[in-house]
């Protein structure tokens, strides 16, 4: 196991090889395509469609979907104030993805840094870090959200803070478990015998081995955080209007459930498609990053008559 990893890593992979491996798994390919679309909406949406998404049109209140007489933006219908749903979903992508990305990045960096310390040092600090993780893990995230909502003002940044804090234990525990195992391996001990400093051992020898696991977890966690944010917004203790996220749109449509199902349906579908894409992509990533399984994708690329650059 150790041997294959060491031999497999130095081989440089071109972007073309990655693309070929992505094409080999069709579901992952479409997942990546959809995520790209979501990312583009997040980056350009508010700039292109910001005005359209907030323009009220009381004649078009709860306009049904699949009717383009008002314009293409109304193809998914309109909300209770006659604002086009498609435009709103595109614009809401920014907040939704930004919150999730911020929370995942923050918790991953803090959590894995603490995990490295907790796993590598045998001192009391390690014990305290783990206990802190336990406390955070059992602290009800709802209460944390309400506290932040009342103490600080409800803003996108504060929701990121709440979600980041609640996700720290995931990275803390994973990193610590990985470090505990890796630090006993031969190459780490060899490095120590050669007189490498603790910092060099941690960042140069341990972290690179633990990184694939952490990246896979972060991809999955992105989906989880997105769902958590939408749940908070749905309960009314997350993002507050006039800011919008997909979860908030579902919540806002709830009162029109019996007369206009599309208000809640489309934003929910956007959430599902995004999390599904992330899950599919993370499955693919797990195979790509695992030297023992990567051949499955490389072989497939060749069988389809596409020379996969990675294997040449």
């Amino acid at each position: 196991m150790t041997d294959t990893k060491i031999r497999a890593t130095p081989k440089p992979r071109s972007p073309l090889a990655w693309a070929a491996m992505l094409w080999a798994d069709k579901l992952a390919f479409f997942a990546a395509l959809f995520l790209l679309l979501a990312l583009l909406s997040a980056l350009l949406g508010p700039w292109l469609l910001g005005d359209l998404a907030t323009k009220q049109n009381l004649r078009g209140r709860n306009a049904p979907p699949f009717d383009v007489t008002r314009g293409w933006a109304y193809v998914l219908g309109a909300d209770a104030l006659g604002r086009p749903l498609l435009a709103r979903i595109v614009v809401a992508a920014q907040n939704t993805l930004m919150v999730a990305a911020g929370a995942v990045l923050g918790s991953a960096i803090i959590g894995s840094a603490l995990g490295l310390v907790a796993g590598y040092s045998r001192r009391r600090a390690a014990q305290w870090i783990m206990r802190l993780g336990d406390v955070i893990m059992s602290f009800p995230s709802l209460l944390l959200a309400v506290i932040v909502l009342y103490m600080l003002e409800p803003s996108v940044a504060n929701i990121v803070l709440v979600l980041a804090i609640t996700r720290i234990p995931v990275y803390l525990r994973t990193t610590r478990a990985e470090v505990l195992e890796i630090r006993e391996r031969m190459f780490v001990q060899a490095a120590r015998v050669m007189g490498a400093s603790d910092r060099r051992i941690v960042f140069r020898h341990i972290l690179p081995v633990a990184l694939p696991t952490l990246v896979t977890i972060a991809t999955l966690d992105f989906a989880f955080v997105m769902l958590a944010e939408s749940s908070l917004s749905f309960l009314g203790i997350g993002i507050q209007p006039p800011e919008i996220t997909w979860g908030l749109m579902v919540a806002q449509g709830r009162q029109y459930l019996t007369t206009a199902w599309w208000l809640s349906f489309w934003p929910g579908l956007a959430i599902i498609l995004t999390t599904l894409s992330l899950n599919l992509l993370s499955n693919w990533l797990r195979i790509v990053l695992d030297p023992a399984q990567r051949w499955r994708l490389e072989m497939k690329g060749r069988k389809n008559g596409r020379p996969s650059a990675g294997s040449l």
Binding site: L27, R131, D134, V135, S138, F139, P140, L142, L143, V146, I147, Y150, M151, A223, L227, S230, S231, F234, L235, G247, V250, A251, R254, L257, T258, W261, S264, F265, G268, I271, I272, T275, L276, L278, N279, L280, N283
Partner: protein
């Protein structure tokens, strides 16, 4: 074994004490409950009297000392909202959630193990692909959205099931069905992955070579050894429901601990918040113990 339980109880106890202290002080930061409980036109004197009666005028540290002193005597305080002992309120709600968790997780475990094992038996087959894809879809869907869609379809349009509340067995169908989907997707994935690696091991090949029939191979030889990682995930998912399926309980008007928790947080019913945290922590501790015991039973190599 006893020393192992003792050690674990000690670690959990320390975390719980930290948690209670943290929640006690942080929850008071969310504001004064007085205005939430008295009518808008209540006089200043009435408000003052309410604060005095509930001890909100004392310094925080005094309030905390009093809370701890009561706690030692087994008194968890009064619920402001229901004027009953907080623990009584919490235990009543917890019983509902416990049933919800038991029913849901039993269905999830049986379904995920059977379907996951069959999917793992022919990797890449049509059944495997369908099971994998649909379990991923299930694991990706936000539960509040599923709940809403389920209500529109089954309660509003078809009128087969009640929209919310409790009373008849029919009231349980939608909450259980919606809660079922995400854990089912996750556990199915784990069962499948674990079974694939077990079924390709040498002793399964030996059994097959000896002519053992398919079903005993999957469910006797394979399953027992594939169960360890599965049990961990089952535990995590059950803990999530026990901690309060807040969204589902809110949407379906289910009187469980999740709904109680969010209501008492929003209404600043501090004693109830603290009591429910302690009850869920204890429940999750007991469940983790049961999972560790299940580990030892399934794999004789594991000893504590």
């Amino acid at each position: 074994m006893t020393s192992f339980i003792g050690k674990r109880a000690l670690a959990s106890g320390i975390s719980l004490i930290g948690l209670v202290i943290l929640v006690f002080f942080l929850s008071r930061l969310t504001g004064d409950p007085t205005n939430l409980y008295l009518p808008l036109d209540a006089s200043i004197e009435a408000r003052e009297q309410f604060r005095d009666m509930n001890g909100f005028n004392d310094p925080l540290i005094v309030q905390f000392g009093r809370y701890v002193a009561d706690l030692v005597r087994g008194d968890f305080g009064q619920s402001l909202q229901q004027a009953r002992p907080a623990m009584e309120v919490v235990l009543q709600a917890f019983a509902w959630t416990l049933w919800l968790a038991v029913i849901t997780m039993t269905c999830v475990t049986v379904a995920a193990i059977v379907i996951g094992s069959l999917a793992a038996f022919r990797v890449g087959g049509i059944f495997d692909r369908l099971a994998t894809f649909f379990s991923l879809v299930g694991a990706s869907a936000p539960d509040f959205w599923l709940a809403i869609v389920a209500i529109v379809i089954f309660a509003v349009n078809l009128q087969w099931l009640p929209t919310s509340g409790t009373g008849t067995p029919w009231h349980w169908v939608l909450p259980v069905a919606v809660l079922f989907i995400r854990p089912f997707g996750l556990i199915l994935q784990v069962v499948r992955g674990s079974m694939i690696s077990v079924l390709s091991s040498a002793y399964v090949k030996t059994a097959r070579a000896k002519g053992v029939r398919t079903r005993p191979i999957i469910f006797v030889h394979g399953l027992r050894n594939a169960m360890l990682p599965v049990i961990t995930v089952i535990g995590d998912q059950a803990a999530a429901i026990l901690n309060g399926a807040v969204v589902i309980e809110t949407i379906f008007g289910f009187p469980g601990i999740g709904k109680l928790m969010i209501d008492s947080i929003l209404l600043r019913d501090f004693s109830v918040v603290l009591a429910s945290i302690m009850v869920s922590a204890l429940a999750i501790f007991i469940m983790n113990m049961l999972i560790d015991i299940a580990y030892a039973m399934l794999d004789p190599r594991i000893r504590y």
